[in-house]
Subunit: 197 residues, 3 copies
């Protein structure tokens, strides 16, 4: 179950990453590379910071194939997919939601405190996109207007709070739904956090 989720998250992220260069007429390599970095960036950072080796995609080739599949999906349906902004938003929201909650779980299993696990979950969810945006000279998505990383923090916090009272699979589903919901509502209604001053 978790394994399937992780593969789907990887697949969604590869699509959202491969589409990231859209305005810049990417070539095949660039789109593959940004898809790859988006998909592995957050989880790799979490594992490096927590000294958890081997990295998932290094030891299990299925993740590389999930990325290749995501990139191919993008290539084949490029004209189609890149117009469906809502589909993209959904893919990206599912990606960050799956990765955040699985990141929290992994961090907890590695024995860190809940506060750190929440941070690590958020890192897993958003840092792939941050690395992608930084390399392509964009302002990272987490600094843009609508609520993004905060949705991950909220979902991660929820997961830990509900952990003692909910069955794990239910908790996974609820927390992932919370992140996807907050994120989609934020985009649809243009919700943002208060500015300083």
């Amino acid at each position: 179950m978790q394994y399937i989720f992780e593969l789907f998250g990887t697949y969604f992220f590869a699509i959202s990453g491969a589409l990231a260069l859209k305005g810049k007429e990417p070539d095949w390599f660039s789109a593959t590379f940004t898809g790859f970095l988006t998909a592995i960036g957050g989880g790799s950072l979490r594992d490096v910071l927590l000294d958890s080796y081997p990295l998932v995609w290094v030891s299990d080739i299925a993740f590389i194939y999930a990325i290749v599949l995501g990139v191919l999906t993008t290539f084949i349906f490029y004209r189609f997919v890149s117009r469906l902004r809502r589909t993209l938003l959904l893919f990206d929201s599912l990606g960050i939601a799956f990765f955040t909650i699985l990141g929290v779980e992994k961090a907890i299993h590695l024995g860190v405190r809940p506060e750190i696990a929440v941070i690590m979950g958020m890192f897993s969810g958003v840092m792939g996109g941050v690395i992608r945006d930084t390399l392509t000279n964009e302002i990272p998505i987490i600094f843009r207007k609508e609520i993004y990383a905060t949705a991950c923090l909220a979902g991660a916090g929820c997961y830990l709070l509900l952990d003692p009272v909910l069955d794990r699979n239910w908790n996974l589903s609820v927390s992932i739904a919370i992140i996807v919901l907050i994120r989609i509502l934020a985009v649809v209604f243009g919700l943002s956090l208060p500015k300083l001053k």
Copy 2:
């Protein structure tokens, strides 16, 4: 003593990081995130490069609270602090100075050669700011006009040279003072390194 210094350095760095987005009307999350990255970036990079786990802020929650305190300080005194450019300069100088010298010490304790320890000290001091600037699409501070990382290299070199002749606490104080002094003099008098050609 070293512990207190490290917490203070973290606190100062969180303030300087939280203020980094000033011109861009940051929201609460963005300011917290840049404060956090600035505070943990340099030390985490050093520890990952030297395979020194667990990372300090992962194993000791006090560092997270020092960052939270720094960010809250910024939020509460935002209008006030962001106008005090000199105060900011002082916070940042203290941050890089503390982190550089403690980074040199940690690297030496981990058994690397002095040349590497100097580089690791400089990384600890400046790379948090470099990561922050890179993510926020600024030219990193180390590439700007006034002497910055070179002050860290000078202080780190001094610390190693004085190590055989000075008591550790004295040496800490002297080397930190050297970095802060060079940095502040560089800004006040607009000192920069010679250009190539």
Copy 3:
């Protein structure tokens, strides 16, 4: 032999990195720092991702001296070298070729699958430049027009394919030559990969 190659690759990369800031009138520190990051970035990323410690340049000071030598070469021949765009291209191509193939070998020795080894080889070759470009606010070279990282992937794939039939030294030479050739032909004839749509 491999050791000599690695030192030369480091030296070439330090030169290409120190020249990277050319248009920006770099000072001594900036040029040294970009030379250093370009030279160690790719290999360090590979080793951190594969949990292979200590990092080469941390444990063997000869690499630091190769970098210093490269930076000094650049400083002394600055006016001269920075006009020789072809020389620069050659240096950079030799750097990425050496690093890619040695990166593949190292990854294979660490026991990863061939697909991962090819990715790690490409990372070793190009990520130093990517880190340099990202920090200096340039679009990373891998996203620019002419074939770049794809040459590394091709050379890395060749090395693995030829491994069962060719003597190692021959294979090293052939694969490195392939990367250098593809890269130089790409620049001379303006070859790029097909765009998406």
